[in-house]
């Protein structure tokens, strides 16, 4: 089950779309292209994957790119988790602090009612996301 409440919370943070470098996506390229060609034959509709990144576009190619946090997201996370500002260090150190604040945010999400009406902590049934 997805943690829709947390996703909704996270959606407050704006920013560019996640884009992946074609080399990263390469392992699943063939299965996807096979599917797309079958679907195109069946429907006449093209459903293009953007396989090529322009040089001027932000594009995730290495894991290090995912530890490149923008100031806006760090500030936002500290604000909503009510924890002190993150002191940038190595990628590892910064990511550790991010994880601590993210955990605080996750566990701080208020009690909510499940579909069957039983009160429980939201994070107890959000295994889909976290």
């Amino acid at each position: 089950m997805q943690n829709k409440l947390l996703l909704k919370h996270l959606s407050a943070l704006s920013g560019p779309q996640l884009r992946l470098h074609p080399e990263f996506v390469a392992p699943i390229l063939h299965p996807l292209q096979d599917q797309l060609s079958v679907l195109f034959d069946r429907t006449g509709m093209d459903f293009p994957e953007t396989w090529h990144c322009r040089d001027d576009e932000l594009c995730v190619q290495s894991e290090q790119d995912l530890f490149n946090f923008c100031d806006q997201s760090l500030d936002w996370l500290c604000q909503v988790s009510r924890l002190p500002r993150i002191r940038r260090g190595s990628a590892e150190q910064t990511a550790q602090q991010v994880a601590e604040r993210f955990e605080k945010l996750r566990t701080a999400i208020p009690l909510s009612i499940t579909n069957n009406g039983i009160w429980m902590r939201r994070n107890a049934f959000c295994d889909g996301l976290l």
Binding site: P27, L39, T43, G128
Partner: protein, 107 residues
Amino acid sequence: MFGRGITGRKIFEDYISRSGRNFCVAPPCMDILNYAERIQTLEHIFFGKARVELFPFAPHLFPDKRVVVHVRRTRQLDLPADAIRRTPASLNLPTFTLLYAYRQHIL
């Protein structure tokens, strides 16, 4: 409705959202939804080709970018507008980096 999850980005996003930790677009054990196969099953085994209508999941094609509104209109369903709930269709880069860091450090 097809297409959601058919891009590498969406597959990687789903993998990390669902407790994945590795920097790979999809682990070998992860099933990637095969739309072509599933549609053929729907057409040939369950409903028949004439009764299966395909539409790409592309928010820009939906009124107000809302898929439920699209289905409601095209199928003329009597769904009250205020009962429609929205959830984010995908995570942007800043949000995804936070989630990825969390995955690496919190078991």
